[in-house]
Symmetry: D2
Subunit: 256 residues, 4 copies
Amino acid sequence: MKRKQYETAMAPMREQLVAMARWARVTGQRIVVLFEGRDTAGKGGAIRAVSEKLNPRQCHIVALAKPTEAEQTQWYFQRYVQHLPSAGEIVLFDRSWYNRAGVEKVMGYAEDPQVSRFLEQAPQFERMLVDDGILLFKYWLTTDQARQEERLRERLDDPLKRWKLSPVDLAARERYDAYTEAREAMLAATHSDWAPWTLVDFNDQKRGRLTLVRDMLDRLPNTEVPPPQIDFPPLGRQPRAERYSVLQPIANFPLG
Amino acid sequence: MKRKQYETAMAPMREQLVAMARWARVTGQRIVVLFEGRDTAGKGGAIRAVSEKLNPRQCHIVALAKPTEAEQTQWYFQRYVQHLPSAGEIVLFDRSWYNRAGVEKVMGYAEDPQVSRFLEQAPQFERMLVDDGILLFKYWLTTDQARQEERLRERLDDPLKRWKLSPVDLAARERYDAYTEAREAMLAATHSDWAPWTLVDFNDQKRGRLTLVRDMLDRLPNTEVPPPQIDFPPLGRQPRAERYSVLQPIANFPLG
Amino acid sequence: MKRKQYETAMAPMREQLVAMARWARVTGQRIVVLFEGRDTAGKGGAIRAVSEKLNPRQCHIVALAKPTEAEQTQWYFQRYVQHLPSAGEIVLFDRSWYNRAGVEKVMGYAEDPQVSRFLEQAPQFERMLVDDGILLFKYWLTTDQARQEERLRERLDDPLKRWKLSPVDLAARERYDAYTEAREAMLAATHSDWAPWTLVDFNDQKRGRLTLVRDMLDRLPNTEVPPPQIDFPPLGRQPRAERYSVLQPIANFPLG
Amino acid sequence: MKRKQYETAMAPMREQLVAMARWARVTGQRIVVLFEGRDTAGKGGAIRAVSEKLNPRQCHIVALAKPTEAEQTQWYFQRYVQHLPSAGEIVLFDRSWYNRAGVEKVMGYAEDPQVSRFLEQAPQFERMLVDDGILLFKYWLTTDQARQEERLRERLDDPLKRWKLSPVDLAARERYDAYTEAREAMLAATHSDWAPWTLVDFNDQKRGRLTLVRDMLDRLPNTEVPPPQIDFPPLGRQPRAERYSVLQPIANFPLG
């Protein structure tokens, strides 16, 4: 998809996302969105598409580091729970509790009974959140291996993306099928009436972002809340220029 | 400044920021950057310019909500301290402990002795962080009132920016001079050898971002660390396409 | 019950509690004990009986203050979850999530649907903890109103206990029956196979403590783990006395 | 010192501690007490002497576990700062930031430059807390090696105290002199006008507790605040006995 086409399609949705945030703030809604999917699928970009115009004091992105030794011995959901939203907040999880059913299972970081227990508890846990009134969205971003290969290669070659390439990614590459299987087991166990999964095709990432955002917006109730009236009278004097007594600004970046 | 000119100038700096992050990770450096400045100056955009290509698991943006009642009675720096970096982390503060010398002073949220105590303690506090080896950058983004007026007006008119306009902003408008005075008092008290302030002219926000990032990069030591060698052998089979048994992806966003 | 009789009976149990703690440490067990019951029933004393000989770095007492405004809008269990134990830890809750079914219900701090939802979720929540391997004990300390009246009167008269007497206690006094009803509803909803309640008669507090501790110990599996062998050779020199160069100890408290 | 003598002397101080807590609550004072000293000196008992009659929701005991890997790379004071009190709170540190100048130095867990930096920063850090209005008490409990030997031996033999005996304790035993030296260096660097150390002789632990508590109380300003008037009318009916419909209390502990 061309950038221009993308921008044209995204523009109105940006406004709708901002309206969603206002609605959440005014009505005290709590919104949680999970972004899961294959390495290179485009989770980061999708999160940026949702968050870029929102107030970072309202919309939090949660990208947890690997668990500490102590955390590894706690109830599995414990370290995620503390990031759940208060009234008016939007929380975007860049990977989430579903790590256990994906990378941890495939790479052997979790043992089979831990994975089974997770698959049993996840729907119950989510049920509690949803019953409590949290709006929970679960997106899984799909991508064919041909695309994944291209993107891994790009990460290797592009210095801006090199950090995204870890030995785990390369292992993932050889376990494309194992990841598929793990995902299907996960969907079978955790796609519920109260917290359904939504699969979005991210072979074309721009289009995938449009699809995801459109879906999320369409599933919200009416979010129309008029912005507060703000009185903006003329300034009534000449606007001041900056004045400095202690320190001057540094020289501006030179114009080519 | 034109977008194209901006992109051309920013491109190499993006790579240098990524190199900085790798260097921090490998050498265990801790980096803290404070973004302060007038409302509408462009703090959010500057933070995005620094962070956009970095790993969100490494580069944290801290945008604290207003303090709770309990926090208001604690040692002032307490709620900021818990966000300071561990080895290898980069923390960008979207407003910082300097709130006390700015908005809190001008709007009367803090009492004079609290502000005085802050101005005394801030350099000592920062001294401890710097002596501990933290790399601390303090940027103050300046903007003339004429630009500020334009941008406030834009916030009023642009639905994407409307949320940025709060009654406090409008009060700030009438107190442009009081903010100038507060800033000068703050600079006089807290511009130190170990933690100097850098003022950056953000009348042109794109140019301001370039100026700020260039300055920060130039003040770092040599950050060259080669990326780890990664062996990327051919896949050795046909790449697989996604296969779905439980759930299908939803329909793609329609192409115009 | 006489103090001497109490001490004689408690002495062996103190050793068993210490053994329990060693066992938890060595085997990585996690133990959670909830102490609930009427005002004045003796929760604090019971907690002390369990914890007094244990390592405070292992055995944590959690006595949460009333929720902040933000916490009040979160998933109800959120602020409790962050205190759940890591491997080897023992957590004693001085009041717990059951506040919602007790004081919050009776005093009207929570609305009926919130209470109902809590009664539904508590067993599910506990199920997840228990299935995760946490050893969960739930004690409710009972006391007749005649005893409660004596103890409230004592709080009024004894300067050491005066702080325990709050207006809420006095309101509770008039709602003894409402508390009974609330407790019975709570028991009906949350006494489960996996996380049963244990009611303990605390009309005699010393005896109540013995009953509670005995019950808890009896429900544990075999906790025998020999303490590590420690080699304690003779010191091999005259023991030193303290020597002071900078500062002297202050004068000792005068002997009558 | 005999128990009876101790009880007689402690009784009035218990009331004064309770009065102190009420005063702190009513006036919003924040109190921090550090308990440091040799292994076996009696820190735990001293903390219990201060806290036993206080509200655990007001008086917090902070006994931190050893730092995680990430914490080890943070600004040294960071993990302590988050436990500093809000208005009305009392925080008792069972070991404190002074670990770095004691066990960490003697056992080689911290490197020399880290210890030096700590000795430089501790007074500055404490200065900030004290200037912020926190009441800070620093107690170091002293004990001759002969007593320490007796107590270590007791820990070895008494099953209730066995857990207190760690290999680090035994190493400490052989480094009694090194600990003395470390303490003296610490006192020389951190005994300040604003945050003085108080050494208390704990060769007799009961007497040491009396000395410490007396000293702390004497250094407080007038803490007299009358307790709130509470209206305690007659109940006006027969007090109710407990009634059970769902579950009965378990059998009481048998009377010998």
